[in-house]
Amino acid sequence: MQQVIHIFKKEFSTYFISPIAYIVISIFLLVTGWFFFTTFFLNDQANLRYFFNMQPIILSFIIPAVTMKLFSEEMNIGSYETLLTLPVTSLDVVLGKFFAALAFCAAMLLPTLAYPISVSFLGDLDFGPVIGGYTGVILLGGAFSAIGLFASSLTRNQIIAFIIGMAICFSLTMIDKMLFFLPSSLLGFFSYLGAGYHFQNISKGIIDTRDILYFVSISFIGLYAANLSLKVKN
């Protein structure tokens, strides 16, 4: 556990040494801010539903960009070898990096707290869905980070890692919106696989254990696969 914390600290601070962190955060804020406020005043409603609704799509692009370097870069420059010959297990490494990515995701969301605050001045904001929404975004960020981490563990090329991660995250987001051509008997099963479906429940303010379980299992599967892919490599 001690080792996980050391790796987490190092990875998290490395994000903020390079300019990538600031670029990613700026792009995220710019895009979400733009989409949110262009429609906000037309709707004339004091809620953040549109802000949260677009999170799955935006995060499925942003998170793989955040996680793509975590293993790929190490394998590319070879520091992976120095890391794994230190007294750490591959699980320590995976967890340390995962929590760093998750913490980065939280740091990225921190400035968006300005939205609910400014909206609450404009109208009567219900904080239930807001708290639910942020919980959902963090859970979603965790699931996508685990997937991105797995994608990064597959290849030493960061661009390939990004594309694989994005493809998986994007499919999970879109799967429940693509079901109109399926027979209705399969509908329930496939919509249950979709990240968007579970996210919508949470962002409405309904915190259901099934939805939490979904995101936690996706994270778990991603981390397990990443750990497995590291072990198989050697």
Binding site: I7, I17, T82, T85, P87, T89, N234
Partner: protein, 311 residues
């Protein structure tokens, strides 16, 4: 200390290391020699637990690499080839991070980093990003990284590559100093380095051990031939060859060069008796002028070439 048994590694169908066996004792400096692609790095990677052997076992003290990898990693310091470190971290931050992972805490941490910075000569670059350092400095940071926990076993993959001659001498001195109490395994393709630092040499070729002995014994056992170089003025090759071949113990003479009236020859002698005196006595009788006269040290290089040549 380290016991390697039937260690084999296949990369798909390519056999990188083929059934090697050796023991390394405490306080020994072992040099792993071999041409490019002989399996040196692969062997070291298996010793450090980075790669899993296809078959065979590595035991360090009483730990097996499959079951107690973590215990082994704790007592082992490893510097991989060309010191791959995080480019965007400062040298100090990096060493600080390694110290934390190695479980060195609080006040001891700074003390240890200072100590290593003195040993490896890092004080001037402590606050520069590793990516901007020259290769030599990177190598030194890597060495500091490997020595962080004062390991019982130090594994160095080509530790002096990229260093300037002064630094090479310094690093060799460090290695020898460490080797007095600790076990050091280093791989190199620079033979003079192995000769200068190692107590024992293992030569690998195509994944197999072709020699495993102390440098002294290796030199004695090899070839059994000594080479004397001779440069003469005022002499013709034909007559020199005739006269010298006649000397007892000389097995052959070859011409190397003849320019500006100076004739250079190589004389091959039996190794067991020094025939320089006899050659000199023979030359004394003639009116040749000796410009150069020395015996080539029988170097590891010849042995190495002999053992690893392509068939």
């Amino acid at each position: 200390m380290i016991h390697v048994e039937n260690l084999t590694k296949y990369y798909n169908t390519l056999c990188a290391v083929d059934q090697i066996n050796f023991d390394i004792h405490k306080g020994e400096i072992l040099g792993l020699l071999g041409p490019n692609g002989a399996g040196k790095t692969t062997t070291l990677r298996m010793l450090t637990g980075f790669l899993k052997p296809t078959t065979g076992s590595v035991r360090v003290k009483n730990f097996s690499i499959d079951q107690n990898a973590l215990e082994i990693k704790k007592i082992l310091g490893y510097l991989p080839e060309s010191a791959p470190l995080y480019h965007d971290m400062l040298a100090f931050d990096y060493l600080n991070y390694i110290a934390s992972i190695r479980g060195i805490d609080g006040s001891k941490k700074l003390e240890r980093i200072r100590e290593l910075s003195d040993i490896c000569g890092l004080s001037s670059i402590m606050h520069q990003p590793i990516g901007e350092l020259s290769k030599g400095y990177k190598q030194r940071v890597g060495l500091a990284h490997a020595m962080m926990n004062d390991p019982e076993i130090l594994v160095l993959d080509e530790p002096t590559s990229g260093l300037d001659p002064n630094q090479i001498v310094e690093i060799r001195e460090i290695i020898r100093k460490i080797g007095k109490e600790k076990t050091v395994i280093l791989s190199t393709h620079i033979l003079s380095e192995a000769e200068a630092t190692c107590d024992r040499v293992v030569i690998i070729n195509k994944g197999k051990i072709v020699a495993d002995d102390s440098t002294e014994t290796l030199k004695q056992s090899a070839g059994g031939q000594a080479v004397v170089n001779l440069s003469l003025e005022n002499a013709g090759y034909d007559i020199v060859e005739k006269e010298i071949t006649d000397v007892e113990g000389v097995t052959g003479v070859t011409k190397i060069d003849e320019t500006n009236g100076i004739l250079k020859v190589k004389i091959f002698c039996k190794n067991d008796n020094d025939c320089r005196g006899k050659i000199y006595n023979r030359i004394k009788r003639t009116d040749w002028v000796i410009m150069e006269f020395y015996q080539e040290a029988q170097s590891l290089e010849n042995i190495f070439r002999e053992l690893t040549k392509e068939n």
